[in-house]
Amino acid sequence: MATSTAPSVDLADAMVMTPPPMADYLVVAPLAIGFVFGALCLMTRKNTTRQPFIAITGLVLMLAADIGLFWHVLQNGTVVMTMGRWLPPFGITFAADMLGAVFALIGGIVGLAGGVYALDDVNQTGRRYGFYPFLLLMMSGITAAFLTGDIFNLYVWFEVLLIGSFGLLVLGSEREQLDGATKYALLNLLATTLFLLAVAYLYGTVGSLNMADISRKAASVRDTGPLFTIAALFLFAFAMKAAAFPVNFWLPASYHTPRIVVSGLFAGLLTKVGIYALLRIFLTLFDVERDMLAGAIAVIAAVTMVTGAMGALAQNDIRRQLGYLVISGIGMMLAGLALGSRTGLSGGVFYAAHSMVVMTALYFLAGIMGERMNGFALNKAGGLYSRMPWLAALALVLFLSVSGLPPFSGLWPKAYLVKASLDVGAWWLAFAILLTGLLTTIAVGRTFAFSFWRERNDGEAETVSTKGAVSGAVVGSLVGLTLLTVAVGVYPEPVIRVTDRIAGELLAPTGYVDSVFPADMTPAPGDGAAQEGETQQ
């Protein structure tokens, strides 16, 4: 065996024989950059002055790679790369279609904004305890989850981003944080374990872990295998990750406890990974099961968005109010998944992109407001307008945007979702979307009125908040994200073109399958050992 005689085997049956073009490496570049710079930050953990620059460089490069990947996918369609030269069902595949590339791109933008905001928000101790390594590793996990084409690999990336988020969540070890983190950690770990369970059943039924491979084999096992049960298990697990009603109580319990930059990043990124996974599983893999579950998903979506908005109305703490608004936004995206039409999906994906940017910006805004008001309690808020009129302008833009009022980015996806609901006669879903908009407007309008227009009424002298000017890093990241929502709101055509293309791709999963398994590739002999085991029985 150890002799060096080459086996007389045609390797082309199992391996990629031509090296992929350089541009295709973009599909793994963002996470490679994230891991390398995460490791560098870990090595320079004690050098708290140099570390932020390494981290920001890493985040900028990650964003550059995300932009490159987006451009590449926009021009050439789905980019596929399989690790270790193995042909697709055997190697672990990374496949970036439009959906993954767009989520990765916006994730990169939000991550960079978070890194910049943290320059001021995270102090020396936070840096020494590893804020930046955790941030970069979490960003790598998130990006990789958007780009992987292998369902077990998706589970691994979920765990990578989860452990990164644990690190960020407990940074500082305040009493409140430990309480929130305990609930967050236990329930999220439970959700990922249930996801793994669903993967196990899927593997036992279909005999493959490659998503494109599962997609083309699902039809043949649909009559004999319990695909509907597996799809329902996936729905449960990812609904928990995405914080859909009624499995969302970990979110309001934990999202307001860490540093505000961490809250903002979580609100922008983590639940959206659950939404991405739902879109991927239910449109690329289980399109038939999605049709069967659509009614249930629609009800979940409607209840999630309305209870989220009502929760926001009932909160006194601005950060907890924002936590409920994250939940309400998840309902909107689920509505897009439930509708399943081209318009509906386009609206759902657009809403996800909008929500990633705006929710992060809102937390950043709340951070500045809380610092100037000495706390986040609405009943003690007031007096911000006279001191910071520019902040009032930013706040108004973001509040109108999250409510879905023109001319900001929240309007268009909601209009699409309402139209898609009415197209299929789901008037109650359209009503829920509009009602949520109204309740959200009331909730954020109240926050605006109390924090900005009302005079301070707690009897404290103005001197308590004569803090220096807000630092450039904080303002820069907030203004950047706000400008993005304004630009998309005023000029939405390019974004709508992209989300419409995503919806088209999602509705025709054969395109995704064909790019992983090109027609000129010889079909691999056999279909993995699991199927052999099956036939042998």
Partner: protein
């Protein structure tokens, strides 16, 4: 063989669910640990159990001749074990730290992040 394993994993799931329904966080944690093992056994079983046929290709062949034990679930389980063990270690420390800080492991009393007496939002100026 698969039937016996299915019954065993069922017992594991029942145990972990029972433990996780407790309001004492240490039992919940043990439930999570058992759940991880239940899922691992499920992965192992869904790969189909073939006894005593090692997945080794003979010298003069390039593919296995007979049906062999499925090596892939073992790789998956190995990954899952490593991940679930490291998470369990993290959770153990986290739960111990919150027990130290909050002085309780009763989830009903862990109200630091969501205080019972949180005031209602103001109704007027």
């Amino acid at each position: 063989m698969e039937t016996a394993m299915a019954v065993l994993t069922g017992l594991f799931f029942a145990t972990s669910l029972y433990l996780m329904l407790s309001k004492h966080i240490i039992r919940v944690l043990l439930g999570v640990a058992v759940l991880g093992n239940a899922v691992n056994l499920t992965i192992f079983t869904t790969g189909r159990l073939t006894r005593e046929i090692p997945p080794i290709i003979p010298d003069d062949a390039v593919v296995p001749i007979d049906a062999i034990a499925n090596p892939l679930p073992q790789a998956l389980v190995l990954t899952a074990i490593v991940i679930s063990f490291s998470f369990f270690a993290f959770l153990l420390v986290l739960v111990f730290r919150s027990y130290q800080e909050l002085g309780t492991d009763d989830t009903d009393e862990m109200r630091e992040a969501e205080p019972v007496d949180e005031p209602a939002p103001p109704l007027g100026y």
